[in-house]
């Protein structure tokens, strides 16, 4: 039954590929929730082609599946036909599949080793939810399913698992991946994109950005030196890192801190990119000082060390965040209802030549776009 594993071979070759670098990230949000074509994000990320090296690129889009907005949408990549068969069997046990189809793609001859790419619009079966209800919310249950597939089903990897959103990614330059997935044909109200230059981990389809869990997506430039600490910490909460890339921990940290611990993004900024102790000592307001100290003590293992710039999104937010000493670039701009965040100002100016405001966010201070504000 299984088809030849074309895919594994490319992952191994890439392992030799270690070059110091910078990736490129970009994000656009319409704060009123009005949808717009993926063409803008496509041109924005393509304006930073030099920030990547063709070993990974991707897009996250919100609001693209209004006809299935109550269904959880799984974007799944398979390296073998057997993996697809096994995954679909698993899904059918616990979900009602409303619709499933291959993700529409265009032939791009420069892309090689293309895996099987499918999307499923699904709802958790009521009887399944009932048996889990005491322990798990619907979201926790979906998260557990994603972990199960990634971990236990060989050669199957879930790209995204949120409602009315999806992640499209692969190994290639942003123009190639954008054309391949026909990104300009979708209409969304939040778009993020990534152009990859893999440094410490391999370039493979599942390792491209954005990373997603539930409706979260993360694009990331940099590297996470605290990966080991963060990963062990997250395991306590049921998150298992399976994708060979440090960005995965960032995605799960946001899910844990925002969705499950109900913290707002300012606080999350102070946890992930905590101020130095010397800076905390200088704060005059005692309450603030004690609060920041407490955060560092409670969430010490969630501190993300190393250089990073990320754009995180979910159905309601798009947020940019830097490491605490700004070792990776990040620029933001706004124009009426639109918020833009990118690695380079030119990536914004390309699609928004006359922004109302352009600014350089400070280290560790989140730039927050909230739906309806």
């Amino acid at each position: 039954m299984s088809s030849p594993n074309i895919y594994q071979s490319c992952r191994k070759e890439d392992k030799e590929y270690h070059i110091p670098s910078g990736c490129g990230i970009s994000g656009i949000m319409n704060r009123q929730g009005k949808v717009f074509s993926g063409e803008a994000i496509y041109h924005s990320i393509c304006n930073m082609t030099e920030r990547g090296n063709g070993l990974g690129s991707g897009f996250a889009a919100y609001g693209i599946y209004p006809e299935f907005k109550d269904c959880c949408c799984f974007h799944i990549m398979y390296e073998t036909a057997l993996a697809q068969q096994n995954t679909e069997e698993y899904l059918k046990k616990v979900f009602n599949l409303k619709h499933s189809e291959p993700i529409p793609t265009e032939k791009v001859t420069r892309l090689k080793f293309i895996p099987l790419l499918w999307r499923y619009f699904a709802q958790v079966k009521e009887e399944v939810l009932k048996t889990h209800q005491e322990k798990l919310s619907e979201e926790d249950f979906i998260m557990k399913c994603v972990m199960d597939i990634n971990e236990k089903v060989s050669n199957a990897f879930v790209f995204s698992s949120g409602k009315n959103m999806g992640i499209f990614k692969g190994v290639g330059n942003p123009d190639e991946i954008g054309e391949f997935y026909r990104i300009p044909e979708y209409q969304g109200y939040i778009w993020t994109a990534h152009n990859r230059f893999p440094t410490n981990t391999v370039g493979w389809w599942g390792g491209a950005h954005p990373f997603g869990i539930l409706d979260w997506s993360v694009v990331h430039n940099g590297e996470i030196s605290s990966y080991g600490t963060n990963r062990h910490y997250l395991e306590n909460f049921g998150y298992h890192c399976t994708l060979f890339t440090d960005t995965e921990v960032m995605t799960y940290l946001f899910d844990l801190l925002v969705r499950r611990h109900h913290l707002d993004f300012e606080v999350v900024g102070n946890i992930l990119a905590a101020p130095f102790w010397s800076q905390i000592e200088r704060i005059e307001d005692e309450q603030t000082r004690e609060f920041l100290k407490t955060l560092r003590i409670i969430y010490g293992s969630a501190l993300v060390n190393g250089p990073f710039a990320v754009i995180v999104a979910n159905a309601k937010y798009m947020v940019g965040l830097n490491d605490r000493i700004k070792l990776r670039p990040l620029v933001a701009a706004s124009k009426s209802d639109f918020l833009y965040i990118a690695s380079e100002e030119a990536a914004i100016r390309k699609i928004c030549p006359n922004a109302d405001k352009v600014w350089m966010p400070k280290a560790g201070e989140p730039t927050i776009g909230k739906l309806g504000h």
Binding site: I325, K326, E345, R349, M360, P366
Partner: protein
């Protein structure tokens, strides 16, 4: 404020080249610039620049001027040796990287690591400058690099600075950052690892923001005369009043030793 095209480009009689940069790759654009110079052009105007990297890199000639309309990409004027580059709008990261001589005039703000390892020439930024401005800039024999930022700067100003002059005025700070409109002129960790040169900051300074390797002093008469000379040109470019700027006193930061880590590494 938009910069007037002809105002400061004095060499009007020489051949001018106009290059449309829209949708050009950085490689093609830079080839066109070099071709124009080869053909004897001394003034080049680049229209619709949007993120093309390496503009002006390694170019020579004190009589060459490049006017950039739009936002140039990273490493503008790296290794540049003589020309003057005028950026009408904002600039990105790494302007003047290892620059040897010449001038960069930015009418908006500039990104991180401005003047990285710069060893000669001058960078004038009207607005704010990002993190690590002047990192590892150094003076050499008759070369003396100067960076003046009219606005504020991010953390690690003058990190590992080894020579030259870094000035932050804090007068044109454009408070557009909605999350943090800090009135403070400099960020944290000023002059960390500094072991040469001089930083001048206009106005007050929280000494807790200083790196371990710097000391504070009032500037000497000689320091002020050096500053005044460079400020003259800075103010001319941006139509600012030098006398008013000098009404507020400056703080001088200097390294307490030229080998801050001499005891750290054992041989």
């Amino acid at each position: 404020m938009r910069y007037k095209d002809t105002e400061d480009l004095k060499i009007k009689s020489t051949k001018t080249a106009k290059i449309e940069a829209k949708d050009l790759s950085y490689k093609t654009l830079n080839e066109k610039i070099r071709e124009a110079l080869k053909n004897g052009c001394k003034k080049i105007v680049l229209d619709n620049v949007c993120g093309q990297r390496y503009i002006g890199d390694g170019l020579r000639g004190n009589d060459v001027q490049i006017l950039i309309k739009g936002v140039p990409g990273n490493n503008l004027a790296a290794f540049m040796d003589g020309p003057k580059i005028i950026v009408q709008e904002n600039a990105q990261d790494g302007i003047g990287n290892t620059m040897n001589a010449g001038e960069i005039v930015v009418h908006g703000h500039a990104g991180d690591i401005a003047g990285h390892s710069m060893r000669g020439g001058r960078i004038f930024i009207k607005g704010d400058v990002g993190y690590r401005a002047g990192i590892h800039m150094k003076a050499y024999k008759n070369l003396f690099p100067v960076i003046i930022a009219g606005g504020t700067c991010g953390d690690f100003l003058g990190e590992y600075m080894a020579g030259g002059l870094l000035v932050v005025l804090g007068i044109t700070h454009n408070c557009t950052n909605p999350t943090s409109c800090s009135p403070e002129i400099v960020g944290d960790f000023v002059g960390t690892g500094m072991h040469g040169g001089m930083i001048l900051i206009r106005g007050r300074l929280d000494t807790r923001k200083l790196g371990r390797e710097v000391r504070i002093a009032p500037p000497s008469d000689e320091d002020i005369s050096i500053l005044t000379a460079h400020l003259k040109d800075f103010c001319k470019y941006f139509h600012l009043d030098r006398e008013r700027i000098l009404e507020t006193s400056f703080i001088k930061l200097y390294p307490y030793t030229h080998r801050p880590y001499g005891k750290v590494y054992a041989y």
